[in-house]
Subunit: 477 residues, 2 copies
Amino acid sequence: MFGLGTIDPNVRAIGGSQEHDLHRRAGQIRAELQQGVSKPFSDVIDVSSGDSHLTGMMPVTFVRQVIAACLCPALIHSDDLPVDVRRRAQDLLAQLDGESMGSYTDSCGAPNVQRSVAEFITRRDGGVPASPQNIFICGGSQRALALLLEILIPNDGPPYTGVLTPVPTYKTFTMLLEETGTVMVPYQLCEEQGWVLQIDELRRALRDSRGHCSPKVLYVINPGNPTGHVQTMKSIAEVIQFAAEEELFLLADEVYQDTVHGDNSEFISYKRVLFEMGGEFSETVQMASVHSASKGYMGECGLRAGYVELVNIDHTVMPFAEWLIGTKICAPVPGQVALDIMARPPQPGDASYVQYTQEVQAIQETLVHNVRRAQEVLNSLPGMSCQLPEAGIFVFPRLQFHPQVAEHAKKAGVDADLLYSRRLLEDSGVCVSPGCEYGQRDGTHHLRLCVLIPTNTLDEMLTRLTRFHLRFMAEFF
Amino acid sequence: MFGLGTIDPNVRAIGGSQEHDLHRRAGQIRAELQQGVSKPFSDVIDVSSGDSHLTGMMPVTFVRQVIAACLCPALIHSDDLPVDVRRRAQDLLAQLDGESMGSYTDSCGAPNVQRSVAEFITRRDGGVPASPQNIFICGGSQRALALLLEILIPNDGPPYTGVLTPVPTYKTFTMLLEETGTVMVPYQLCEEQGWVLQIDELRRALRDSRGHCSPKVLYVINPGNPTGHVQTMKSIAEVIQFAAEEELFLLADEVYQDTVHGDNSEFISYKRVLFEMGGEFSETVQMASVHSASKGYMGECGLRAGYVELVNIDHTVMPFAEWLIGTKICAPVPGQVALDIMARPPQPGDASYVQYTQEVQAIQETLVHNVRRAQEVLNSLPGMSCQLPEAGIFVFPRLQFHPQVAEHAKKAGVDADLLYSRRLLEDSGVCVSPGCEYGQRDGTHHLRLCVLIPTNTLDEMLTRLTRFHLRFMAEFF
């Protein structure tokens, strides 16, 4: 019968996620509070994930209204909805197969959504052309990455494919590598310089990987998660040159592109830089870029929608990519509609333009305010230091613990930042994500906190964290 | 660089799908018609997929209203929606993380949806208990099957795992087997007896497979797709006994359970029979059953939602199943809500009960009428014979061609039923699915047609098919 002896060894090799346990424990505590168990706090504030609606951020009204009207075409005739919502829903339905959200779209996405996304990318990249047939709509960026790895990674034994991966990186990506039997080749980002990517470190990582795997893919996250670092055009060009020299496939995770908030920072896409480097690069370097409706101002994680753009993919591979994506059936249609709106937001003069713009702006202002506020408070705490992120929805402070904490954690068989996070959750009802989930230099410890949350929730969270932190640090001095 | 030499050999080994080409060609023809190209027909009728909304079947209003209200909570206060819709949306939101459709749920599904599904199964199976923690909510039944194969199939070289698979079977499943590097072990269903599953044939298939793979999984589709056959309790018990004797994992695809329309047919679940066979079986045979919101009266393919129930899974495997599912992030939340409604439809006394019941009944009546009508017309055609299906939304008639057709097809390098289907599409604008996509006994030919379509569309389709068929058959006599 099936037991551990018979299941896939890639799956078997993997332990459970500690972050998952924290999230689960947060749910249990919430249930205990509902059952009337007495705690030193009245609710759980969960800032461990990048799910902004979870902590009370509101959805963008226009997005929801259009999807609702597509689902219930009767609403297209309702005066309750703005005229541009109704027109948009009507246009979208007319282009969907069966004129219904209940029909499959093409496996690679509804053609009109592919077109909208291609136009969005072309505008974003100052005219560098994007073609709808290179856009694949997927059920979220993680599905897109899984698919890309499935296409790229031969699953036929040693030498195993290596994927150059930044450290720190978020957990679901490293889980994906483990699951596909791929070797993660870590390259360290430099915290002291604001988590910058250093080409020399890439070279070192690649050199060290030779012999125990076959490095073929370079994974970059820009803007960084969890770091919030934004690469300059120069840095991106260096990475592209490195990928070209070493014949690496460039996998660019750009899901935080809409959340740049640093004063002097700007998002520039890998594809744009690639094309500005001229034919030697723009016609040869193979790359993929992923984006999503889950992050940034939309925050529509639950709708599951993202896309991947493929660039310079060998024409012999393309039909197989299409085939493989074809076996996955299509992405959920409500999410595809959200992507279409991300790509084609209301324009000046449209009935919803003012409300849409105000809502998006308010979300962005909350983010900017919260990032600065969190960094300020965290930096004021003893044993805590926090780089100011330039983008994304997280802060990633470093913890400097007394050696006793490390000893204590070692005895408990956990990382010191996980020990800290567990205590923080039990004592204060604040659920954060420990640095050990992301990978970090030996002996360093971090926390990741989502700060795209309502400002009063942020204040409450920081108050609880401060109180806990001071007690925790005092305990070990 | 990446080329055919470097991509996954499982992916590389696979050719394109011919059905996919037909579907694509149907799209091109539709575009040509819009551009004013003259054809002997004014529109394309696409009955090649199991997507009933595609050909004009309407969604169930209650499903769409609840999802719309969950997306736009302002609608909860609108008098435009029935009171039970508003209450249901309010209840659902209160139980969702972040009280938003935009938040992730647990990776295995929203706990309230898991509970609803478990209660639905328990009711369906006359009290045989189902437990929410054995229910995994996925983005459609194909996602569920892919996940199960990923958990069950060791991906570590020969001997490759064999999966006993009915012939005919639908294409996405065989594509999935190819993609996971699994060996399909075909067992033939008996067309002459209404596509019945014969245990002796299972034994033969298993025996013949030994030596060139390691058969570990028995895949059954009940009600059958494309056959529409419904297994009796006795037949199911025989299959379970066989699986127990041969220590096979039983993978039961039961997505057409709500579409039984045969006069003397009844859907009985594998799990129910398993439990009625007593402890020797009910505590040992490992199985999984999948179901979906895409098929049957809902037809919500575009929302992407299904579930799998695991039974008797080794406790050492369960955490890995959870882990693996965890890396996939959650199923789209609008689809999860559709599943919840499938599991908990409106009850007598609820404001929407009458409309809901009438709509579902009308869909079922259309199905019953169309199946009989299609079978009657097809059986009246020379060289065509059609078993009367007892369930599902398809008819799967057999074609008997003149030997010249086979010769002609051989020259063109295609199966005769694909040749027929292409000509049918070009000449009449009717897109069907050729039997070669499903697998069939050598020398036999079939077509699969979806008949859950509006009755006037069915009539038009049958008229065009009849006209084409008579011309085609005359051409070769």
